[in-house]
C-alpha cells in the first residue's frame, strides 16, 4: 500500500463509456483511501465543460465530477496544450469545490507517480 496513483482521463464525456467508468474507478480508489491525482488530457478536457446530455438520454457526468472533492480529490490537473489545441478557454472549466491546475509539462508530471490508471 502507499503507492502514488494517477488517473488520466482522456475521453470526451459521452462518446465512450470509459469517461464515466474512469471517474467511477477514481471514486472507488478514493473510497479505499488510495486517493489518486486526476489529470484531464486530450479530449478528456471536454469532461470539464458545462454539459447538457439529457437530450441523448445520458446521465450527466457532472455529478461524478462534483463528487471528487467530497472523496478527497481536491485538485484537478488539466493539460494546457489539450485546451489550446481544442480552443477551450480555461475560464469555462469549473468544478465547484475543486481547484483546477493547468499543466505545461504533463510528461514530467506523469513520471512522478508509481502507478498510472488510464481512462
Amino acid at each position: 500500500m502507499g503507492k502514488s496513483i494517477l488517473a488520466i482521463c482522456r475521453h470526451a464525456p459521452y462518446g465512450n463509456a470509459l469517461a464515466r467508468e474512469g471517474l467511477e474507478a477514481v471514486l472507488a480508489c478514493a473510497a479505499m483511501d488510495q486517493i489518486p491525482e486526476v489529470l484531464f488530457i486530450n479530449d478528456g478536457v471536454f469532461q470539464l465543460l458545462e454539459q447538457n446530455p439529457e437530450g441523448i438520454g445520458e446521465k450527466n457526468l457532472r455529478r461524478n465530477l462534483q463528487a471528487l472533492p467530497m472523496f478527497g480529490v481536491e485538485t484537478l490537473y488539466v493539460c494546457q496544450r489539450s485546451l489550446e489545441t481544442r480552443g477551450v478557454d480555461p475560464d469555462r472549466l469549473v468544478i465547484p469545490g475543486a481547484e483546477l491546475k493547468l499543466l505545461q509539462d504533463t510528461g514530467e508530471f506523469i513520471a512522478r507517480f508509481d502507478q498510472v490508471l488510464s481512462y
Partner: protein, 130 residues
C-alpha cells in the same frame, strides 16, 4: 516483479484484448508474477462464456482459461461494468431476474475496489485497449 493488467478492449473487437493475453504470457514466461487481470469497460466481454469465434480465428476465451488453469491467474471482471453490458454469474442472473448466466469458468465478478487494491500491491499496472 509483480504485475497487474487492466483490460478495456473487447475480445475480437479491439487489438488490446489479444495483446493483453500475449503480454500476460510473456510476463509469466519471464519469471514475473501477475497479481490480477482486471477486466473493465468493454473488456468485461472477455469473460463471456458465449463467445464462439470461427475455428480459424484465435479463441481468446479458451486461451485465457488455459492460462488461468496453468498459473492460477486471478481473472477479475468488474461487476458494475459487467451488469451494464450483460455478463452475469449464476447468482447475479438470479438476483437480477435475468434469463441466463454467461460468466465463463475461471473468471470472477468483483467490485472496483479490487482494481484499487491490485494497483496498490503491484509493482507495475499495465493497461490494454480503450
Amino acid at each position: 516483479m509483480q504485475f497487474t493488467l487492466v483490460v478495456y478492449g473487447a475480445p475480437h473487437g479491439s487489438q488490446g484484448a489479444a495483446t493483453a493475453l500475449r503480454f500476460a504470457r510473456a510476463v509469466l514466461a519471464s519469471g514475473h508474477r501477475i497479481y490480477r487481470v482486471f477486466f473493465y469497460g468493454d473488456g468485461i466481454h472477455n469473460g463471456s462464456a458465449l463467445a464462439a469465434p470461427p475455428q480459424d480465428e484465435q479463441d481468446l476465451l479458451g486461451q485465457w482459461q488455459a492460462l488461468q488453469q496453468e498459473h492460477q491467474l486471478d481473472l477479475t471482471v468488474c461487476i458494475a461494468a459487467a451488469q451494464r453490458r450483460g455478463v452475469l454469474s449464476e447468482s447475479e442472473a438470479s438476483r437480477l431476474e435475468k434469463p441466463a448466466a454467461n460468466l465463463a469458468e475461471g473468471f470472477e465478478l468483483a467490485g472496483l475496489g479490487q482494481l484499487a487494491e491490485a494497483a496498490a500491491l503491484s509493482d507495475r499496472t499495465v493497461t490494454f485497449g480503450g
